[in-house]
């Protein structure tokens, strides 16, 4: 009898702590970013934004502790796939996130489908990524959104003859197709469609071609990080004084590099979903907090990462820390105010619906900023409407 009561007490204690222990297991999120290599600036921005979100909102969601595991894929899609596999199988992550370039996202999509793990794309921008797997949710943007918004502005502002210059990969093809189609629809002329390689592009000969073609405007899309080198060549070849307007998607006048570009970038009209100069209270708070924690400005990659974490956290709150299909459904249809403006995750396409701003590069307080002067409200991805 003496031995039975302590034994029963111990059994009761073990049974009582059993389920509670399972509840306090951390829930893991796998963040795969290019921290080295050509797209290292993307990884740096998103990692900083994720850290800021966790600092501001705590590390608990859905009643469980959230652990973010950051892995570097160096923008090599094979590495991304391998890391995603390891995260899903070994670390049992409840969601994958990040994906600096389109090939990385496309390589991981089959793994998300097979393992039923929601995949939050925070950076990549080709329209077809959300169709590669039913588990892909996007918080960045799509090139068709930016290209169509800019083409409409161009048409309203007397631009009739254009030359398009894009990087030779997924988002570049999207940008070229949707921009030139819209220009042709509005009876403009496309004089030439030029492409530069994704890695180590040489802008000198291709800019000479642009000069010789003499269009009203040059439309450019380049991945985040190549804008500064391009602007330098643009100025060095005298193109800024040749009467050819430079219009671009906002990746070229990326906030990350804009401050170092020099006056050659002044007056460039571009279209994008986020500017660090966006005049809303939420954005001012975001930019101030970001700059206080890091030495650099946040750019559109950072906002994609920040909002991606918001989507994951709120979804975990809704499912109380569970993953799989339930988590995916909790991500669809989220509507909230991001530092960029109002944002909706479309429940059917799982893509992002947001305002596309038309901005001009101007100097404020001695620094260059993308100042918004027009917008296309609540723009859905045109790529899904064809």
């Amino acid at each position: 009898m003496n031995k039975l009561i302590p034994a029963l007490a111990m059994l009761a204690a073990v049974l009582a702590t059993g389920p509670a222990r399972a509840q306090s297991d951390p829930v893991k999120v796998g963040l795969i970013l290019p921290m080295t290599g050509q797209q290292a600036s993307t990884g740096r921005q998103i990692a900083a934004a994720v850290k800021l979100w966790v600092a501001q909102n705590g590390d608990k969601a859905g009643g469980r502790k959230v652990e973010v595991i950051i892995k570097d894929d160096g923008s090599v899609p094979d590495a991304t796939r391998r890391l995603a596999q390891e995260l899903v199988v070994n670390d049992k992550v409840v969601a994958l996130a990040g994906f600096g370039i389109t090939p990385s996202a496309m390589a991981t999509a089959p793994i998300a489908t097979q393992s039923k793990t929601p995949m939050v794309v925070m950076a990549a921008a080709t329209s077809s990524i959300t169709e590669a797997s039913p588990y892909v949710v996007r918080t960045s943007f799509t090139l068709p959104q930016a290209a169509v918004a800019l083409a409409e502005w161009a048409n309203k502002n007397g631009v009739k003859k254009v030359v398009s210059l894009v990087a030779d990969y997924g988002p570049g093809f999207d940008a070229e197709k949707y921009f030139t189609d819209r220009i042709l629809l509005n009876s403009g002329q496309v004089l030439d469609k030029l492409r530069t390689p994704l890695r180590s592009p040489d802008f000198a000969p291709v800019l000479q071609k642009v000069r010789d073609a003499k269009p009203d405007a040059l439309f450019v899309f380049l991945p985040s990080g190549q804008g500064a080198a391009f602007m330098k060549q643009f100025g060095e070849r005298g193109l800024d004084k040749s009467g050819i307007r430079l219009i671009a998607t906002g990746d070229v006048t990326d906030d990350d590099q804009l401050a170092d570009m020099g006056d050659v970038a002044l007056g460039v009209v571009n279209s994008h979903h986020y500017s660090a100069a966006h005049p809303s209270a939420a954005n001012r708070k975001f930019v101030d907090a970001f700059q206080a924690a890091n030495k650099f400005r946040p750019n559109f990659m950072a906002v994609g990462g920040y909002d991606g974490m918001r989507v994951i956290y709120k979804a975990l709150d809704a499912t109380k820390g569970a993953g799989g299909e339930a988590l995916l459904n909790a991500m669809k249809g989220q509507i909230f105010e991001s530092p960029r403006g109002q944002v909706l995750i479309d429940a059917q396409t799982r893509d992002i619906v947001q305002d596309m701003y038309i901005r001009k590069v101007e100097k404020k307080d001695g620094q260059l900023w993308n100042v918004e002067f027009d917008a296309v409200k609540a723009m859905k991805d045109p790529g899904k409407q064809k």
Partner: protein, 290 residues
Amino acid sequence: MLTLLFDGVAYGMLLFVLSLGLAVTMGLMNFINLAHGAFAMAGGYVLVLLMQRHGWPFLACLPAAFVATALVGAALERTLYRPMYAKPHLDQVLFSIGLTFMAVAAVDFGMGSSQVNVQTPPWLQGRFELGSGELTLGMGRYRLFIVAVCVALALGLQAILAGTRFGSRLRAAVDDPRVAAGLGIPVDRVFLLTFAFGSGLAGLGGALGVDILGLDPSFPFKFMVYFLIVCAVGGTSSITGPLLAALVLGIADVFGKYYVPKLGGFIVYVLMIAILLWRPQGLFTRESRR
């Protein structure tokens, strides 16, 4: 078209400065130094560090890049390279490529992976435009500066080779090291000075090329092939060989990217294959003696 020609010449001269050290090393010491690209990258980063962190003026950073890289080259030659001279070529290749990987990783760790941008001084920005219409010759000031520096270097080096005692010792050692040593020429010291000078030239080329070629930790991997092509096509026994080869390749590259952008950078390889099929010993070498 003239502008394209000028751009090609400028690119070619930059390649020449970068490749000359490699050509001399391969011809003189029969050593395949695949780490040459790493020396070029080192020179580029010396320029970036001095200009951005210490505010040195651009013109002062160029000789500094040369001297710094030359010193590193001399130190490495004395300690690491000298035991490798007698080893078979494969060992030399493995050693130098290993050195390159180490350099790339070290720079990646220390300076970050992204492209570095240098602000060229205002007197080197802008361009001169001569002529009009089809025959416009637009010469960017920076490229003009590069052409001027490289021409001066080429003339200076030719003068040294032909006119000084060191030059004749170097030519003797290249021609036949054993006989040269037998005549009392300190071949070891000639090797050391030449290797240091060649590395210094690579550093200078890297520093000059930051604006044109870009600079990031993977620079050696991206451009090593071009240096090797210049040496293969131009031969390793003179200065004019690599000079003309570099010019041909630079012009072909720029024209190719303009007229046939789909082939783009592949034009250089096509040209190399064609030239080597026609003259396997390179365009400008006499029959090889080894």
